[in-house]
């Protein structure tokens, strides 16, 4: 019998360990995930993340655990491994915001305000204006979008000193679309303040379009939502929440209660992250004021 090369021995060992950790019912789902990743290369990272984040004997700190993992397997069982159209839908249905009772609420563990970094353009289109389609008509108009160049001047002027405090009346939109997990970060220590907008965005692993826009505007904004007025649960993100093409998410597998971003550049620090329902500003208590901070994209610009 031919000797097995050392590298392959290691692979076989890991495969063995990996299989040992998996339940049989997960096999079918994993086959479907592999097929989906094969058909759709930009999803490969997201597919691998689900496998890594799956709780098993091999990965006790995996964040996808019963009853969510069982339910996901069940919902994919009737389909053949090569019929993957249902899979993306099933993953979405098992995100924390859609099954809050099956995940652990970590809201009470977060002391400071929730923070969301957004480009100026996204802030005006989606926070100041209402663009999340199909929600309701109150105050909406296509004409609002024509006002954005002027709104840009107004809010830049108000943010000239680095911070603006806005009244709820001004904010017609939401922090994110209603059916997607809204990603938040927060500061644990006072020295968590970002060095620059660019560093902050890269530490939060935001996407290339957002980073390019912020570079063009020379700034990025940060919206603060006090946790005490949020009145809804927050969860540690799982790979199901980040199941998108070209994902930059990496599962947190040490058993820590928050997620942590994994920036591309090793010199950058990771930041805590949590997911929850987006906030529609008009749902906040009357009189609430929202703080918006401005960070220069680069220092000394």
């Amino acid at each position: 019998m031919a000797a097995i090369p050392a590298g392959e021995k290691l692979d076989i060992f890991f495969l063995f360990m990996y299989k040992m950790g998996m339940s049989e019912k997960a096999d079918h789902l994993f086959n479907q995930l592999n097929t989906l990743g094969g058909k759709n290369p930009p999803l490969t990272g997201a597919v691998e993340n689900i496998k890594k984040d799956w709780q098993s004997a091999f990965q006790p700190h995996g964040n996808i655990r019963p009853p969510v993992s069982d339910s996901l397997c069940e919902s994919c069982k009737p389909y053949a491994a090569n019929a993957t159209d249902h899979l993306e839908k099933a993953v979405k249905e098992h995100q924390s915001i859609h099954k809050p009772k099956d995940f652990t609420d970590i809201s009470s563990a977060i002391a400071g305000p929730l923070r969301r970094a957004v480009t100026l353009s996204d802030f005006l289109h989606y926070h100041i204006n209402e663009s999340f389609r199909g929600k309701n008509l109150f105050g909406q108009s296509f004409d609002r979008h024509g006002s954005i160049p002027i709104l840009k001047r107004e809010y830049l002027a108000r943010l000239a000193n680095g911070q603006a405090v806005l009244e709820i009346d001004e904010l017609n939109g939401s922090t994110g679309p209603a059916d997607k997990p809204n990603w938040w970060t927060f500061f644990i220590d006072t020295d968590d303040i970002p060095v620059s907008g660019e560093t902050y965005m890269k530490e939060l692993a935001l996407d290339v379009r957002q980073i390019e826009e912020a570079e063009r505007d020379k700034l990025v904004l940060e919206v603060l939502i006090p946790t005490e007025i949020l009145n809804r649960p927050l969860f540690k993100p799982t790979a199901l929440d980040a199941f998108v093409p070209e994902t930059k998410f990496a599962p947190e597998l040490t058993g820590y209660i928050y997620g942590n971003t994994k920036p591309d550049e090793p010199a950058l620090q990771s930041r805590p992250e949590t997911v929850g329902e987006p906030v529609t500003y008009r749902d906040l208590p009357p009189g609430t004021r929202i703080t918006v901070n401005k960070y220069h994209f680069r220092i000394y610009q």
């Binding site: 996204d122 999340f132 009346d169 679309p177 990603w183 996407d207 290339v208 379009r209 390019e212 009189g287």
Partner: protein, 326 residues
Amino acid sequence: MKKNIYSEYIAGLVKLVENGRPDPLKEVIYARLTGEKGAVHGLVSPPLSRDEADENALFYAVYDKFVADRDERASMEMRRVVIELLMEAFSIRGNLQVIDALGQMAGYFQVKENIKLADQFRCQLWGFMDTKLGKPTQRHSISDMMQLEYEEMQYAWRALDLWLTVTPTFPEDRDAQYYESIVGLFDQGLEHFYKSELHFHLLMLIFRCLVKIKPYYAAKCCFIKMCRLVENLDNDDATGLYRHGWLGFCRELGVLFKYDASPGKQWWEDFKKGILANDDDLQNEKEKSVTVRSLHGIGMMPDEWKKSDMKDRIINFPVSQRAMNQ
């Protein structure tokens, strides 16, 4: 930009615009808005990224690039393509979500800046509203808009909203032909108002039209009526949606007035004169929180306000009546 499916798609769109190929560009935009997953002219529409709000964000990014590059020809190309897609969508009573996405683009792409294109589109929209609404056997004119059935109303308000969106502020004599119809629509809208999101939305749009084309009249004759309507609706609406929608508009108007440059300067002056011509009525509105907050929102600054008691009330009103009652 680093290469990924999003940047490749944006680069492909930029190329289509720069090469002046409107038909492929229309097909690519339409495919993204209708959720087509396959390649169209070699471009595959990427799914929404993690933080991306809607399909429009990538189109805004393309338009922003042309604005940053001061490429007026490319911006014009994008405006024309969006308008053509919209007209096609209206002519076949197309998908409403697609119309919404295109409508937002028409606003953001500043179609109103291209007077010829905007005028042509406004003419077509007015024709649609005046002759094409209702069942084929029973066409309604624009004056019947408030009586339309639900499905037709969906197209009617979108047409009116687009008409408003591509109308420049204070277009003077060019819009004289439309004044009477829109004034009539407002009166009819108030007279036949019944509490519904759709009716309120339509009335807000009609008021927006009046503010744009007849600011003095809108301020003098309609503003207080709108405030009173919202106040009444708000009194038995626990969600505060009517109030929030209306006050949001007043805030927006305040910003537009603040930055209003010539020749629109006259626009703000006319609106202000209209509000001040309302003095008697306003004195009766002192205790109405919606009126006071609306005036605050539109920027009736204290030194421009004649009566000191009202002035104090505007300044010292940081939170809504609802919050004070709690």
